[in-house]
């Protein structure tokens, strides 16, 4: 944090002729770049990790040819996708066809603006940041629907229809699950929510909200079209779903958006249920002092990586759900549970159940 303030100071002193507004815009731009560049790198290496982990779980080795131990594989993949031709289907609406990937990636990156990485480290601090995340996050579905529609081909359309109905149902479940967090924290500001979880593992929200945490994670799998809920692109039934007609960079952009969303959901799970940047050793006399030097962002990243690993683990383990069963799960199982839990949480709040309230 001190580092950041020093940096802001430096910008102001180095370019004194810039007045306040312009300098602020510049600083926000730099913040955005500092956020997006590592994000893209993480996405690239997340794909590598995915292939490795799933390979290992299937007793294979995974990519190991490009560079030492395959470390350059994502770079090679990116280069390949960039140099490939972008093919437009003859009867596709080209403008919508090109707008779709843009609509998919913009919200996936924009959402990161309000995620708090550490005490005071964020691009912007909105008072309604949770609502912002939910609102912007659901715009991403337009990208997929548009892709299905603009391709003017049957399987993408089927994929888009599936995606639309799935996202609508699970948006509700996620909304309700997060309402419980808001009820406990008493705020829709992500910063405040994390601050409210200060004071060691016992204060993190996953304890009173354990079922909500599970439901949130499973719904996040659906929201990001991940196995075992990836019916939107279900290769065995509708070939590649909405992605069929996309090639080269347009496909890569969809891919980036999907993975950025996955990482976002993992981060959100940490922020909402696992104390965000707080160290798990807070409040433990000896260990707290030993780990005091670790910056909060490291804790956040460590916890997030665990959830990202969980994504891969789940993908390697479970077969794909049937479409109607996913719907059944949402409306007949998750929704009732979340609503019941909202009442439970209301009671807990009423009777001041320590140490969360």
């Amino acid at each position: 944090m001190e580092l950041w303030q020093a940096f802001v100071q430096m910008v102001h002193t180095l370019i004194p002729w810039l007045d306040g507004t312009v300098a602020n815009i510049l600083i926000i731009l730099i913040k955005a770049i500092v956020l997006v560049m590592p994000l893209m790198l993480v996405v690239a290496y997340f794909t590598y990790a995915e292939r490795k982990v799933i390979g290992y779980m299937q007793l294979r080795i995974g990519p190991n040819r490009v560079g030492p131990k395959g470390w350059l594989q994502p770079i090679a993949d990116a280069l390949k996708l960039m140099t490939k031709e972008i093919i437009f289907p003859t009867k596709a609406n080209i403008y919508l066809f090109l707008l779709a990937p843009v609509l998919a990636i913009t919200p996936a990156i924009a959402v990161w603006a309000v995620i708090p990485f550490d005490e005071g480290i964020y691009v912007t601090n909105l008072d309604i940041s949770l609502l912002y995340v939910l609102a912007i996050g659901s715009i991403g579905v337009y990208g997929i629907i548009l892709a299905g529609w603009a391709s003017n081909s049957k399987y993408p359309l089927l994929g888009a229809l599936r995606s639309a109905s799935l996202l609508v149902s699970y948006e509700i479940v996620i909304g309700f699950a997060l309402v419980t967090v808001v009820m406990i924290a008493g705020s829709v500001n992500l910063n405040t929510i994390v601050q409210a979880q200060q004071g060691g593992i016992a204060h993190w929200y996953f304890i009173p909200l354990f079922p909500m945490m599970i439901i949130f994670f499973i719904s996040a799998l659906v929201e990001t079209n991940r196995a075992p809920f990836d019916v939107v692109e279900g290769e065995s039934e509708i070939v590649g779903g909405t992605h069929i007609e996309y090639s080269g960079m347009t496909f890569a952009v969809f891919f980036l958006a999907e993975y950025a969303n996955m990482i976002l959901m993992a981060t959100l799970a940490v922020v909402m249920f696992f104390g965000g940047w707080h160290s798990p050793f807070e409040g433990i006399p000896y260990l707290q002092a030993v780990f005091a030097w670790v910056p909060g962002i490291i804790w956040l990243l460590a916890k997030t990586s665990f959830f990202m690993f969980l994504y891969l683990w789940v993908r390697a383990t479970f077969p794909r759900f049937r479409y109607d069963q996913i719907m059944h799960l949402s409306w007949k199982v998750f929704l009732p549970i979340t609503i019941i839990w909202i009442f439970v949480v209301a009671l807990m709040t009423q009777f001041q159940l320590a140490p969360w309230f």
């Binding site: 982990v53 290992y56 779980m57 299937q58 007793l59 294979r60 080795i61 599970i214 683990w313 789940v314 390697a316 383990t317 479970f318």
Partner: protein, 163 residues
């Protein structure tokens, strides 16, 4: 009733899902069984039927006597032979082509040959860059044979006692 209840408890504690996750977690750390192909190879039986080769006698004379038994037996009609009398009065092939696209690698040609001229080697990782490349001409067959004389003799010897 009890059964229903236990099923309910089971599904709400995700017990079956956890069993699955446990198995994949165990495999994550298990030893991997991948064979790194170009560097490592799996063992091959001496009877393996791969790319064809024409053999020669130790004195350099080619074995094939153009009897056309292999051409006749080939179920895929992959072999084409033309023959002629050589100056020393023996019958030899002037053309001996095997179309690898037609060949089904059944090994009948090898079985039919009275002088063990045509054989199938253990080579399986070959490739060609044009459609003509699929035709193994007499020249190429003889080359494969002379390049791999040692291996061919060895494998044929190993397999001989089972024939």
């Amino acid at each position: 009733m009890i059964k229903k209840l236990s099923k309910l408890v089971k599904s709400f504690t995700l017990s079956e899902l956890r069993t699955g996750l446990k198995i994949t977690a165990k495999e994550l750390v298990n030893k991997k069984i991948t064979v790194q192909f170009p560097e490592e190879r799996t063992p091959i039986s001496p009877r393996f039927r791969g790319l064809h080769a024409l053999r020669r006698y130790p004195n350099g004379e080619e074995r094939c006597i153009a009897c056309k038994l292999c051409e006749a037996v080939c179920p895929a009609n992959a072999i084409t032979i033309e023959s002629e009398m050589r100056d020393d009065g023996t019958r030899r092939t002037t053309m001996y082509d095997i179309d690898l696209f037609k060949c089904i690698f059944c090994g009948f040609c090898e079985e039919a040959c009275p002088v063990d001229a045509i054989v199938e080697t253990q080579i399986f990782d070959y490739a060609f860059e044009s459609r003509q490349g699929s035709i193994m001409t007499k020249k190429r067959l003889l080359e494969v044979g002379s390049e791999n004389t040692q291996v061919i003799n060895q494998t044929k010897f190993e397999d001989a006692k089972y024939k």
